[in-house]
Subunit: 177 residues, 2 copies
């Protein structure tokens, strides 16, 4: 296998915001030339596939400003400084939906945007769900619904679900059956 | 269904680079408060799932600097100003792999990073493939390989394939069978 490694020559912070940490590096390409690489440094995230005993799933509907519309997506959130992946998944599920789960299983690590972000998403399957009350995270506006799998496949097919991480979790569930 | 729309109050260009166009907007939240939204404006992209008659797929291996390692991924690329989605898919397949396809079918529209990017990816299935010669795009370093589907599922399962868009295309193929 060929080695296409690009070696860092310089690195510059372009923007460090509330959410985005943008960097611009100068690199040495495999053929010796120089090039610029712009990318987002991301702390990583988790996603939870909450599966009820009857096979239905818990999904959220929220507004995504970048796209200027509402999306259906599974519970997810960023890993906070030093927090364990599984602890993040458990926290996000509770904060966003009011549910806890007795059974947790790590399914996949996903890289959503390898062209311009360091983000990884750890996908967990959560079962044996119980509703313990919805506190809600300050400043988060969302609603949850329990969706039969047949409807989820239909929403994938007709484009009503188009969020990549959610598509992966649902297709994983379909192929696991 | 609740309306969680966030209304733009102001919009500012933070960085406009070779690849990344970063914006920071001030918005009015559904509860009347104000918040900041940082995001990437992206022109959109295409991905191609090149499927051979024997069921194997054409996949690429290239270095992704943001993650500092090589990735296996399907042919993909950005839509250039005014270019048609299908024309982009045909161009990227030829430039990156040297293949053309007689049969093209649009499968899905995917949003890879709804939390902080406007990117959409149009996924095409390409069949009846013929190799017409690899010119290569200037400054693109990659190698291609023909992968049996059984091996592709194994690479999904063991994490050797972790690129989100590629996982979606492969799982789509698996569920379509």
């Amino acid at each position: 296998m060929a080695d296409f490694t690009e070696h860092q020559l310089a690195s510059e912070s372009i923007f460090s915001g509330r959410l985005l940490d943008v960097r611009k590096d100068k690199v040495r390409l495999p053929d010796g030339r120089e090039a610029a690489r712009e990318y987002i440094v991301h702390p990583g995230a988790v996603m939870v596939l909450p599966l009820f005993d009857d096979g239905s799933i818990l999904i959220e509907r929220q507004y995504r400003y970048a796209m200027r519309r509402h999306f259906y997506e599974l519970p997810a959130g960023k890993i906070e400084g030093g927090e364990d992946d599984l602890a993040t998944a458990q926290r996000e599920l509770l904060e966003e939906t009011g549910y806890i789960a007795q059974s947790w299983r790590h399914l996949l690590t996903i890289h959503p945007c390898i062209a311009y972000s360091t983000e990884r998403i750890e996908l967990y399957l959560a079962r044996e769900l119980s509703f313990v009350g919805h506190t809600g995270e300050d400043g988060e506006f969302l609603e949850t619904l329990q969706l039969p799998q047949t409807e989820a496949w239909e929403w994938l097919r007709n484009g009503k679900i188009s969020d990549a991480k959610t598509i992966i979790a649902l297709l994983w569930l379909k192929t696991a059956q």
